[in-house]
Symmetry: C2
Subunit: 289 residues, 2 copies
């Protein structure tokens, strides 16, 4: 079996490269910390040469923050609604036929994404989720995308993971957030409290509850993660039984699934790497016609 | 005119000492950066001696974080509802008849305050606000207190100022928050957006709007302050015309007044220093009976 193309999901801090064969099957995966921040100025072409040296002298499609102002080339956003055909028609060829960057999407309501669009559209194209669906991509900046007719209709980002990290590293709560986060009773209590109400008060009370002996410091990190994810899920206004397709790693996926369940929704976990590969391989195939 | 007592509002980073005469009038005020963090271990008694050397060898009443685990003595919280008589009966005398610390309050719903209670109860005692009222004390940790029959019935704290500072100093938004904050059109747009909806999405979109050319970077700090204060005020669920008594410095007071007005409430600005002095002087008088 030989590779047909190389796909790279290139973010700010991490990078994942896939060698893919003519049937769209992954032959090899390389994951490293060579995100944008680790690439020296003018160093992107060398990085691509290194990837080809490892995986083969093949065409390369790149997605993610590599296409931002802080990346290799600042590729303009495509505006929603947008589907795979729109993305395919707007690839930015750094070297014609050899190396291209997938554009990100913007929502006219004032939101942006780079990289997630390939997962979203790949999940639908591969039949992992229906063409009309609500998808959630948890992380530093959690994306909530509404798909309609197989295209990204609209989306919203929540700074859930980033704010949790700020609280943990720099806030008055830092001394209280050293514990483990898991889908435990403290987490679920946090979700219930976070679904409604003033987030900034819920957060202050994490410390107050510990001072007053109402909650142990050990439970505070899990509870606070629940608050943040509850606030995130609560913003979607789910109705009873609404399906939510979650594209995430197993740990975060389990936490969001628990929160969606508490909010009355129906969580469905989807393999985000399979979705990415399905999306970028279809973009590659379409570019060959 | 001679002083009768010294009152100290002693916080984590700042300290304010007042020399007060037998009628409750302030004869002298000293403000400095000798908050708890600046006092060496075991150094509180020396600090009090220095204050007496400046203002006179008089009884001293202390309020604020000086009564916390990180202060001089960890004085237990009094539980709400609580009034001046309750506080007066629970003064912690470090040196009988000479030096006392006012206890803080806790709300059984899981909230705490130290120092603000003197302002709240002083404002009512001095007739600056009615005995049944909603009071707001903006700041790093904004307090919202419901007064009933002249006592603090319940209260909630919002980490509004602290989270704004975290965003400005440590977040992905830091590059966008260098501008001035004022009660301008951007601030008011932020308030309107912040009153409802998912705060974490509103915040992410600050950066997105700048990237998409929808809002200038210069306006982003004012807009983001508006978002945070809007989220804060929105959590109170004000009805049309509800009075909100705001105890704050003029800058923050003006911002909160604007936000309360946008939310349909009726803002009333109160002199927070006068409220503190009125409260602590009454506590002193009551302790002399």
């Amino acid at each position: 079996m030989t590779g047909e193309m190389i796909a790279v999901d290139w973010g700010t801090t991490n990078r994942r490269a896939y060698l893919i064969d003519a049937e769209g099957k992954v032959l090899q995966t390389e994951r490293d910390g060579m995100g944008l921040l680790a690439v020296p100025p003018g160093g992107f072409a060398d990085q691509i040469a290194e990837i080809r040296a490892k995986m083969g002298d093949l065409p390369v499609l790149l997605a993610g923050m590599v296409g931002s102002a802080k990346g290799w080339v600042n590729v303009p956003y495509l505006s929603c609604p947008a589907g795979l055909a729109d993305l395919g028609g707007a690839l930015h060829w750094v070297e014609p036929g050899r190396t291209a960057i997938v554009p990100g999407l913007c929502d006219p309501a004032g939101d942006v994404m780079r990289g997630e669009e390939v997962q979203l559209l790949g999940a639908v194209a591969a039949g992992l989720v229906p063409g009309d669906a609500l998808l959630c991509q948890p992380g530093t900046h959690c994306k909530w995308a509404r798909m309609a007719g197989g295209r990204v209709e609209s989306f919203a980002t929540a700074m859930t993971g980033e704010i949790f990290a700020l609280l943990k590293n720099h806030s008055l709560l830092a001394d209280f957030l050293g514990g483990e986060v898991g889908d435990d009773e403290a987490f679920r209590a946090g979700v219930r409290d976070g679904l409604t109400g003033r987030l900034t008060t819920r957060l202050f009370r994490v410390r107050a509850a510990a001072l007053l002996g109402q909650r142990s410091i050990e439970d505070s990190a899990s509870y606070t993660s629940g608050l943040m994810i509850g606030h995130d899920v609560g913003g979607e206004g789910l109705r009873e039984g609404d399906p939510v397709h979650i594209l995430a790693d197993p740990h975060l996926g389990r936490l969001y699934a628990s929160a969606v369940h508490i909010a009355g929704g129906q969580p469905i976990l989807i393999d985000s790497h399979a979705a990415f590969v399905a999306g970028i391989f279809r973009l590659w195939k379409a570019s060959q016609i």
